[in-house]
């Protein structure tokens, strides 16, 4: 649960999250919070579990003094175009409330909410998205990483493809934000990935053999048998089943060799 919590908090751009290792040093230590905060160089705001609000950068502080919205709170979001007076709204709750000023306000999406949204989007992305500009469900990604990338892909969704492609093609531009951190973590290069608090993606899946000419039929079965036995040549039962498979295909010489090999393996163990 600690790992999950740390991983979730790390997605929030406005927070700096101390690694689990650092935080757990204080477990049961009985030190007062201000002392812990001093040692960790964070604000002593009563926050625990290694979470501290990130110190605002100089230009954020300057913007704050000017009364502007800091970038982390959505100032960089494009403002909605002005609606002509009297034009009908979209029927949202704000419009229904009859408050045109609020209805036209830029969405004040919080940093945490944006980070969660970005993390959700990242989870749904695949390497295929980087090239095709579309997001593909993760289950499809898993299949594609196993089989040939030349296979036709299942119908992708088209949810904000431009931003997704930009993110995956230019991760450096997003080095400082939650999207970038999530991406690095999933690519195995981030601190979070090393601490194993979230799964590394793409996962190191074994390379499965490509499909045979008859799809998921006998060719596939044979390739899978051979692949399994390459991975574990000492698996007697595998050789036994493979012998039966070969016999069922009328390949008796090969089947006999496999069966004898299986018997030899059993004998060598006993």
């Amino acid at each position: 649960m600690t790992d999950a919590l740390i991983a979730d908090l790390a997605q929030i751009g406005g927070l700096r999250v101390i690694s689990r290792t650092s935080a757990m040093r204080y477990k049961g230590a009985g030190k007062p919070l201000p002392e812990i905060a001093r040692e960790l160089n964070v604000d002593a705001g009563g926050r625990r579990h290694g979470v501290a609000r990130r110190r605002p950068r100089a230009h954020h502080r300057a913007a704050h003094r000017r009364g502007d919205r800091p970038p982390s709170l959505g100032a960089e979001l494009p403002a909605r175009p002005e609606r002509r007076a009297g034009a009908p709204g979209r029927g949202g709750a704000r419009d229904r409330a009859g408050d045109p000023a609020r209805a036209h306000a830029a969405p004040a999406r919080s940093a945490g909410r944006r980070a969660r949204h970005s993390a959700r989007r990242l989870r749904d992305l695949s390497p295929a998205a980087a090239t095709s500009g579309t997001s593909v469900p993760r289950s499809t990604c898993a299949r594609e990483s196993r089989y040939s990338s030349a296979r036709s892909r299942s119908t992708p969704t088209t949810r904000s493809p431009t931003r997704d492609r930009r993110l995956l093609q230019h991760p450096r531009r997003h080095r400082g934000d939650a999207l970038g951190r999530g991406l690095r973590a999933r690519q195995g290069g981030g601190r979070l990935a090393r601490s194993r608090s979230i799964p590394i993606w793409p996962r190191p899946t074994p390379r499965w053999p490509s499909r045979g000419s008859s799809g998921c039929g006998l060719n596939r079965a044979e390739e899978t048998f051979r692949h399994a036995l390459r991975l574990n040549p000492g698996y007697a039962t595998g050789h036994q089943w493979f012998a039966e498979f070969l016999a069922s295909q009328g390949r008796f010489d090969e089947a006999t060799r496999e069966a004898q090999h299986a018997a030899d393996l059993i004998r060598s163990r006993s």
Partner: protein
């Protein structure tokens, strides 16, 4: 277990004597291994050593605690030995017991074929296909179905 696999390979490769020899070696290790007895029975049937085959099938049935008439292999041995009534009795028993326990339609088809009833054998094989009888994986090579090879319906079934 490995011994019976090797014996299976030899049996489907029509090397019945070698198969029997392998099975005898297996039975030296485990005299009560049911599969070895049934495999011995079917190899002996192909060599037309029917008494030996029937004896082995009966031993296997005893070890399993079932009526010998419920053993498809025994039915095939009866049919191959020309004991038509016995074979038909076994078929009747097997068909009657199908609701109680899984009985391979493939095995029943082989008995029909040994009795010379090709059409019924093919119908029963079609039923086996519909039931996804796993014994159909041996369709290409099973010695009991050799009489059907070259039949268009059988060829179509193998293609499927």
């Amino acid at each position: 277990m490995i011994g019976t696999t090797h014996a299976d390979v030899l049996y489907f490769g029509r090397r019945y004597e070698d198969s029997i020899e392998t099975l005898h070696r297996t039975l030296e290790i485990g005299p009560n291994f049911v599969a070895a007895h049934t495999d011995l029975g079917r190899a002996a049937t192909q060599l037309q050593r029917f008494d030996e085959a029937i004896a082995e099938f009966r031993i296997a049935a005893d070890l399993q605690g079932i009526d010998p008439d419920h053993a498809p292999g025994l039915g095939y041995a009866y049919a191959a030995a020309g004991r038509r009534d016995d074979a038909l009795r076994v078929i009747g028993e097997l068909e009657a017991r199908r609701a109680e326990r899984p009985i391979s339609s493939h095995a029943i088809a082989a008995i029909h074929l040994a009795l010379g009833d090709e059409a019924t054998a093919l119908d029963t094989l079609e039923r086996a296909y519909r039931e996804r009888d796993r014994a159909l994986v041996w369709l290409k090579v099973h010695p009991r179905l050799d009489l059907l090879r070259g039949h268009p319906r059988f060829a179509a079934l193998v293609r499927r």
